[in-house]
Symmetry: C2
Subunit: 306 residues, 2 copies
């Protein structure tokens, strides 16, 4: 019963965060009638396709956990979502994962064409940095902290981490995924998923004026949460409900992709997700009740169905 | 004779700038052996394909014109070149301009494949912002100024400007370029070329601690120089030497693209380029001899053959 109540509380906080972030995004993104209209339509189509806004939630909660004002972190929450969306738009392209559906809707290039989808992704990446550089100071964040946030996001999503993970994936795909070592799986997924989630927690902490110890705790939490999220993602691709997921399942298996379930099997993957969530929760041990939502979120990752 | 000597002086300054910027880029870009190696190879292949480094030159010279130290502006000079390179890599893609050669070498997707070229562009865009956020402070630029530089670059290259210009181009291409009005040509080219060159001058000025009047002058100079550059680019596509240009010519004409020469004719385009250069030079009237190189550059734009 306790778990059910806690999840309900989390759902309500997630929903509140989604509403707040979507409202800010609507205000801060170029309107559809601004030139060039098609590009701005594509950007809004992709951003408002109905994500859970998990990454913005991590930013806002990490800021609150260290006693910060979550209003100040709102531009950063929007920035990480916009950046996450760009990676999805580019990942879905025919020359990458070639996906036709995302969150239950036709992917960006299916609706707007391939060239426009590439530009849409480019513009969203750009917008993420613009939001950090222009809107954080407007919310009262110091230039020093805003700059640190930009550096953290750029590093986590650059060629060594997020984009690097996608590049490794492409390279391995070209080799027919012949190297199926556990190390290779970790190498890819740490980069593709964990790096950005970790950056979200760090950025929230920075804006909340976290000390070194707190920043470190948030960093570790973000890493293990990201890993748990990726492992359950792989599990859902194997056993999930396509209706609830809003995308086709079994595709990783078909393509013999390097997923946790494909390399470690379903049972071992579940254990690994369990273990990662435990470590995520342990990382929060320096915090008291203020980290309750982050702890519930980690548990929720294990139970999620979409 | 005076002009010949002046151009020789400019060439020597451009060469000095190229050497300095390439050295810094080599130091600040991920090495080829860093994971993922293929991605880092693609990034270096594209950045070191032998450009003129005109945009970095604008950053450094604009900084010097207002009495600033050009060493401080070096990270920004590298950032604008890296950003410019990403736009070329993405523009050359099959779903965009579909170009096989650039600067006399096979384009990025021809060598590394389409997916990797998309990621290469993404990573270069990212790196531009990372350089501004991490290297400017190391060179002694204040957080406030670094943040202003990031905002200026993000705005100039976002969905309303640089990327917007490319989006307009794609949209008009899909319509078979049926609207051949002068307004449409300006709308596209102000965005595709002038916006970034303008931002280069503004960023150089910001780092050199320019006052409002100086910033405004540099902004106007960058705009007119960018326009002149684009018009001569269109002229060169019509009458240029493919050997000197390192790319095929006549392609715009073949595709009935919206270029200045196609809409206004060769003679009128030459007049327009002349006019733009005049306005660029006029914008510098508040400066004395310290703006000599920028003035010569504007003249040189008219005479260039590549």
């Amino acid at each position: 019963m306790k778990v059910v109540t806690e999840f309900a509380e989390l759902m309500s906080r997630l929903e509140e965060c989604r509403r707040k972030v979507d409202e800010a995004l609507d205000k801060w993104m170029p309107r559809e009638d601004e030139i060039p209209s098609v590009l701005h339509k594509a950007m809004r189509y992709s951003v408002f396709a109905g994500g859970k806004r998990l990454r913005p939630f991590l930013v806002l909660e990490s800021c609150k956990v260290v006693g910060g004002d979550e209003e100040k972190a709102l531009p950063a929450a929007c920035a990480v979502e916009v950046l996450h969306t760009y990676t999805l738009v580019h990942d879905d392209l025919p020359s990458m994962d070639n996906d036709d559906f995302r969150r239950g809707k036709p992917t960006c290039h299916k609706v707007f064409g391939e060239g426009m989808a590439i530009l849409c992704g480019d513009a969203l990446q750009n917008l993420a940095f613009e939001l950090l550089a222009t809107k954080l100071p407007e919310q009262g964040v110091s230039a020093e902290v805003a700059l640190k946030c930009i550096a953290a996001l750029a590093q986590a999503t650059g060629s060594r981490w997020l984009i690097g993970g996608q590049a490794l994936d492409i390279t391995e795909q070209a080799k027919g995924y012949s190297d199926r070592s556990p190390e290779k799986v970790s190498l890819i997924h740490e980069r593709k998923t964990a790096a950005l989630m970790q950056a979200c927690c760090v950025i929230g902490g920075l804006i909340g004026d976290a000390n070194e110890e707190q920043l470190n705790a948030l960093k570790n939490f973000g890493y293990w949460l990201g890993l748990a999220f990726q492992i359950t993602d792989d599990i859902l691709d194997e056993i999930g409900d396509p209706e609830k997921l809003g995308k086709s399942v079994g595709k990783d298996k078909q393509q013999k992709k390097l997923t946790y379930t494909m390399v470690f099997g379903l049972e071992k993957s579940r254990q690994m997700a369990d273990e990662a969530v435990k470590k995520a929760v342990e990382a929060l041990s320096i915090f008291g009740n203020e980290a309750k939502m982050l702890r519930i979120l980690a548990q929720f990752i294990l139970e999620r169905q979409s």
